[in-house]
Subunit: 326 residues, 2 copies
């Protein structure tokens, strides 16, 4: 939850005078997004979300994200459509901070996804990949495989603090991942953070994806690997193979994976677990140092996922392709 | 801003199954209310606010507040209408905490009220007093005049910490107020906290009042005195007499004050300033002790208002009745 910037009625009125949205009827801060301030805004023209970008999103990258949202909307994908001001600009300024208005999306996210939610999320991800094809914006994945070893350097003591011996295990993982990481798979715009709280459903059907502020260029199958980790694990740390197969099947119902992608998926999932383990380990330390109010996510959830993927390399693999017809 | 209780989709579904509101379409935490968790809830039947009562509101008093909201709605006053469950109950339970659903109110609050906003707020307050007449619920004002001296006892050092000599000034004020406090004025249900953030306007017209969790029985004119302090002071600490006159005139357009109420208004405003000075002084100390995240309001804003009212007793009064026709 977060509303870092307080907006007065006079400021809102001045801001809205640059848009063709009519008079404001409702304006409420909403508890969504950790690094930005978000407001529900209703005007004579409809319902919107007003986002004020605080720290955490590099301001020079905002045009990439906003243009991507516009591209996706133009290509029929259900994400928040940015609203241009009278000058055609998607990015405005409020209280000296970057700000944007996007359309309001109805729908509910799920906390404990069922197998069918996983299937729908997989289908939604493939839809996103298809809609994003051809987007001319470019953004390197600054949390991609090449970044992990440097990320871990200053975090070794923190890892040992969680579990003695973990630093050596992670170092070994990083070496294996560097050798095994695919060099050439179908690439494009990925969401890179499509966790359950970033997906809306309506009547059990995929309705929308939100929060594109990690979107970047990378292997499309890596995005699916991120989702497998985020959606298909049980609270006890085990992979729900039924859910994972449903997610892969849902994905393939729109975009069949190539043989190379299928083969790479287990190592991509291992790497995806590494990426979130490392960022959570880093956030954990920073939150402790700053006495932050927002409780960071425990990195050890992803340490357990790493262990599952590590073990699968030596054993029979993840068996992700078990549904009929795959 | 506050969302203290996190609700899963499964919990929401189970909760809503007790209501006749159809399936949920939207559910978002909103940054409103300091002591409760509030959620925007949209279902097939419309838009609502779901409130989970945390600490700060005595749970045994919730029926008084919810029944008052129902009474006001039945008597045409624009406040949030509580929604009864299938058993006719207004008060439910979620995660083991009391919870209620009320109708969603459109409208925007104003940060810096104009003279015309003050006039409309005065009119809205009189409307509330008229609509509340006859409400059978009873609740003593536990922050009323009799409570102030005991409240101040443990806060004397805190007052001195803000300004040397202030404790003696407050003690003297408390004695004068005890002697001068009216004994017999028209009484009834008062809002007791109708600050600008608790009033919604639409096109400059009073549209609704919210946040009734200080409502109680007291002098109706004391409620107007609270509003004069909350709405009609300039940032430099001076009373905007034009705004105050407009507020009184707006109030009297619906409910003319008696001669006794008019005469009492300056001392009621002095006492109203004392009530908020004391509660803010208390909150300030507690927040410091607890390292609270929510920044408390500075009590010295109300120390300046106290000074204005104190000075007015010896001088020409507040001159609140200057508009034509009063």
């Amino acid at each position: 939850m977060a509303v870092y910037t307080d907006i007065t009625d006079a400021e809102l009125e001045a801001f809205l005078s640059e848009f063709d949205l009519g008079a404001p009827l409702v304006f409420k801060g909403i508890a969504e997004g950790i690094q930005n301030s978000n407001f529900l805004l209703e005007t004579e023209r409809g319902r919107f979300i007003l986002t004020i970008y605080e720290r955490g999103v590099a301001h020079e990258e905002l045009p990439y994200f906003l243009n991507l949202l516009r591209w996706l909307a133009e290509h029929g994908f259900p994400s928040a459509t940015p609203v241009a001001d009278r000058h055609g600009q998607l990015l405005s300024s409020l209280r000296g901070k970057p700000a944007a208005i996007v359309g309001f999306l109805p729908g509910l996210s799920v906390r404990r996804p069922t197998v069918e939610h996983c299937r729908e999320a997989g289908r939604g991800l493939a839809w996103l990949h298809q809609a994003g094809a051809g987007y001319p914006g470019r953004r390197a994945n600054d949390l991609g495989q090449a970044a992990w070893a440097p990320m871990f350097e200053p975090l070794q003591a923190a890892a040992e603090g969680f579990k003695p011996g973990l630093a050596a295990t992670i170092k070994s993982d990083l070496e294996v991942l560097a050798r095994a990481w695919p060099k050439d798979l179908p690439s494009g715009v990925i969401h890179a953070d499509l966790f359950p709280d970033n997906v809306f459903f309506q009547n059990g059907v995929f309705a929308a994806a939100i929060d594109f502020y990690f979107a970047c260029d990378d292997f499309l199958a890596y995005d699916l690997a991120i989702c497998l980790n985020a959606w298909c694990f049980e609270p006890d740390g085990s992979l729900n193979v039924t859910a994972a197969r449903a997610m892969v099947a849902g994905y393939q119902s729109l975009r069949p994976l190539s043989a190379a992608e299928r083969e790479a998926l287990p190592v991509l999932a291992w790497g995806a677990a590494m990426r979130f383990f490392l960022s959570r380990l880093s956030d954990w330390g920073m939150a402790a140092a700053e006495g932050a109010f927002v409780r960071p996510k425990n990195p050890m959830e992803y340490e357990r996922k790493l262990a599952v993927h590590r073990a699968a390399q030596g054993g029979g693999g993840l068996m992700l392709f078990g549904e009929a017809g795959q």
